[in-house]
Symmetry: C2
Subunit: 171 residues, 2 copies
């Protein structure tokens, strides 16, 4: 799968159209989370223009904070490439990553992260902190913000609106 594991591999660059196409795939993942009653966040990881890892938030279902969309996608991508280094990979995630997932992105050496909606209260790719660009770390990550931002925000708003209605009904 990764015959070009040498560091400086250059694939055909991803275009803005590719970014939208792959973010829509991440949004599909978020829909799976929504069906489970989980906060709808989805993620895919792309290598050489192919999806090699996918994930959606399952924190309550799996009863572990490790079941964030990004962590599941990283696990899948590493398995597919047979390597802990995800050089040459781009991650698409519908919500700005938290401190754990931003850390996992740096540790896995993902090249680039494309983000749907910002998370001003807890995001660690520019909102509270930017762990993807700490000069002292041995890896920094390219960031593209606000791709399909409206759809990424809308699915979260839908979830929280439904939650408020359900909570009101049960009180």
């Amino acid at each position: 799968m990764k015959p070009d594991a040498a560091k400086n591999v250059k694939h055909t660059p991803l275009t803005p159209e590719d970014d939208i196409k792959f973010m829509k795939k991440a949004l599909k993942q978020a829909e799976h989370a929504l069906k489970l009653g989980e906060v709808p966040i989805g993620c895919v990881i792309v290598y050489d223009k192919k999806v090699i890892g996918r994930g959606y938030n399952k924190r309550n279902t799996k009863k572990t904070a490790l079941a964030h969309a990004e962590i599941t996608a990283i696990a899948g991508a590493c398995k597919k490439l047979g390597d802990w280094r995800l050089d040459g990979c781009t991650m698409y995630v519908t919500l700005e990553p938290c401190q754990m997932c931003s850390g996992a992105i740096v540790q896995s050496r993902v090249d680039r992260v494309v983000i749907g909606a910002a998370n001003p209260k807890a995001g660690c790719a520019g909102s509270i902190l930017n762990l993807l660009k700490v000069p002292q770390f041995n890896h920094q990550v390219e960031i593209t913000n606000a791709v399909c931002a409206e759809e990424s925000t809308e699915i979260l708003q839908r979830f929280f609106k439904d939650l408020r209605i359900r909570n009101k009904e049960s009180n």
Copy 2:
């Protein structure tokens, strides 16, 4: 396992002697990593004075950066407690956690982290950053440093010395 899941549960406090006892268990985990030829870092998670999660670094063996000692220990502890929230838990780890593991500790709401050796080049519990005490996050973690620091440093030094010898021999 966790009948006292209510937030303000208070267990018998861990004494400095307990800290040494449990850090020695984390060091045993690090020995397992050493045997695999992995950077020797070990971790245990303690709840109500019992070890409920353990892990050691297996990044190369498992071919994923997610196989850090702390992440494996968190996965085990969540499974044992049946909850993504590790309230009431103390983590013992032989080396200061990285950005990913510090993030996972905050996300899992571990109460306290006891650290063996500091990691001045990459640690995120006080060295490069302190992700365990960011006021904007919804959880902060108590930290105790330098418990069995000498043993924790010594096992790492042994690994890197052996690695240098092996590298010299193969050149």
